[in-house]
């Protein structure tokens, strides 16, 4: 395996083969957990962990899995890893596990996981599969981060909990206390999951207008 290929395994899913914007997988959680940046980051990290290790496990077992029950095996591996992530979050980051509540468990149903296992891990060696998992997890996380930043900034006027807009912004910096930063009124639509659909649509639009190869003419 050459270096170029290794790099492609990691970089391709970030842009030209992004799981959300190009493969259009895992959209449901991308809509739900992108209300603020913290959630988006943790969700991205959790999914990256699960895709990487489920890809690795399935790839290691690929010659031994009975083909008739391969999907069941895939689901068991995914569910196992997600349960582990959920338990570890509850034990070592209780506040975050409360914040993400059911969404961690719902990683099990994230189509990116099954998609990568079927499309890649079943037919490739463990190391490339592992890297493909990391790449796709990061690609997913990247989109979550972009959508989450836009929604948190315009929906609540803050980023990572630090307030930029609105009455509370810069309350101890005199020259910023008036004017633009204060006049901002929180956009209620941005707080709702519906906003992610619009943002996601615009991201896909921009990406396809830059790269004509992605446009599916049929």
């Amino acid at each position: 395996m050459s270096d170029v290929n290794t790099r492609k395994l990691l970089s391709d899913p970030l842009l030209d083969n992004n799981p959300i914007t190009v493969q259009v997988l895992g959209v449901c959680s991308a809509l739900a957990v992108t209300g603020n940046v913290t959630n988006a980051l943790i969700m991205g990290a959790a999914v990256t962990m699960v895709t990487a290790f489920s890809n690795l496990t399935i790839s290691l077992l690929r010659n031994y899995i009975p083909s008739r029950i391969r999907m069941i095996v895939q689901l068991v591996v995914i569910a196992f890893l997600v349960t582990l992530v959920s338990l570890f979050l509850q034990a070592f980051s209780y506040d975050l596990s409360k914040e993400l509540s059911v969404y961690v468990g719902l990683i099990i149903t994230n189509c990116i996981l099954m998609g990568r296992l079927e499309a890649f891990a079943l037919g490739n060696k463990p190391l490339p599969s592992f890297l493909d998992g990391i790449g796709n997890g990061l690609g997913y996380g990247l989109i979550l981060l972009i959508v989450g930043s836009i929604r948190e900034l315009f929906g609540t006027g803050s980023l990572l909990g630090f307030t930029f807009f609105g009455e509370e912004a810069f309350h101890n910096i005199a020259f910023l206390k008036s004017g633009f930063f204060h006049a901002f009124f929180h956009n209620g639509l941005m707080v709702l999951p519906i906003a992610s659909i619009f943002i996601l649509g615009i991201i896909i639009w921009i990406q396809r207008s830059k790269n004509a190869e992605l446009v599916d003419i049929s």
């Binding site: 009975p66 095996v73 338990l87 034990a91 509540s101 929906g155 209620g188």
Partner: protein, 242 residues
């Protein structure tokens, strides 16, 4: 070595059995290994909410003061929990571990008059704070919390809320200090002694009036909080008038 026939029934069943044993065993192990930590986290979370209501601090103070060691020490030394019945009499001197507040409140087969309600008292500088436990419905799911009253059992000392699935940025803002601090020091009754406390729809709080301004963009969560506080005070009314 001859090629393994991975399509045979025997192999498939064997594979499944081994997989289930391995995965089940590992999950059981991890789950039981982490259980004490998770339980401790949940207990600390509950205690922190009670202390938040009792101490009625600002966001900055809460971030610095309410660390695990402090919460546990204060709770162990100064907080006393007991159960009262609807008539306001103390039934149990301590809260038994088998008591489940959520189940007790939701169980429709127990009439209100036979339900038991938890009270926590906190003593400091010769003054007593009474903490009542609340449960209600927000927009999507359950909302709950603790309401701390001063020694006179009329003035709100502080309040802490929690929720299961309110909208982030709108209804979920109920946990924030900005909203909670409005409750501090408010009185629950009017001069005639009737219950008179309102959580208004956002922006509808009369200027200089009594009550709390609701959460912007979360009318149903706000209504839920109003109803929850009201029903809590009504549940505990006999205890409070004693």
């Amino acid at each position: 070595m001859s090629k393994l026939n991975t399509d045979s029934n025997a192999y498939t069943l064997g594979f499944l059995a081994v997989m289930v044993i391995i995965v089940g065993g590992m999950l059981a192990f991890v789950s039981s290994a982490l259980k004490p930590t998770i339980d401790a986290n949940q207990e600390l979370d509950r205690r922190t909410k009670i202390m938040k209501a009792i101490l009625s601090l600002s966001a900055e103070e809460e971030a610095t003061v309410l660390v695990a060691d402090y919460v546990n020490a204060e709770y162990d030394n100064k907080v006393k929990g007991f159960l009262v019945n609807y008539s306001g009499e103390v039934v149990e001197e301590s809260i038994p571990t088998s008591y489940d507040f959520r189940k007790e409140m939701k169980d429709a087969s127990i009439p209100l008059e036979s339900k038991l309600f938890p009270v926590y008292t906190y003593e400091s500088d010769g003054k007593k704070v009474h903490v009542l436990q609340m449960i209600g419905l927000g927009l999507w799911d359950e909302i709950n919390g603790y309401l701390a009253l001063e020694d006179d059992k009329e003035t709100i000392k502080g309040v802490a809320f929690d929720h299961k699935g309110e909208t982030p940025g709108l209804g979920a803002e109920l946990v924030k200090n900005k909203f909670r601090e409005q409750f501090y020091g408010q009185t629950l009754y009017n001069e005639a002694g009737e219950y008179d406390f309102t959580v208004y729809k956002a922006g509808k709080l009369p200027a200089g009036g009594k009550g709390v301004d609701g959460l912007a963009g979360a009318t149903l969560t706000t209504d839920g909080i109003q109803a929850m506080v009201k029903s809590t005070i009504s549940n505990y009314s006999n205890y409070l008038s004693k």
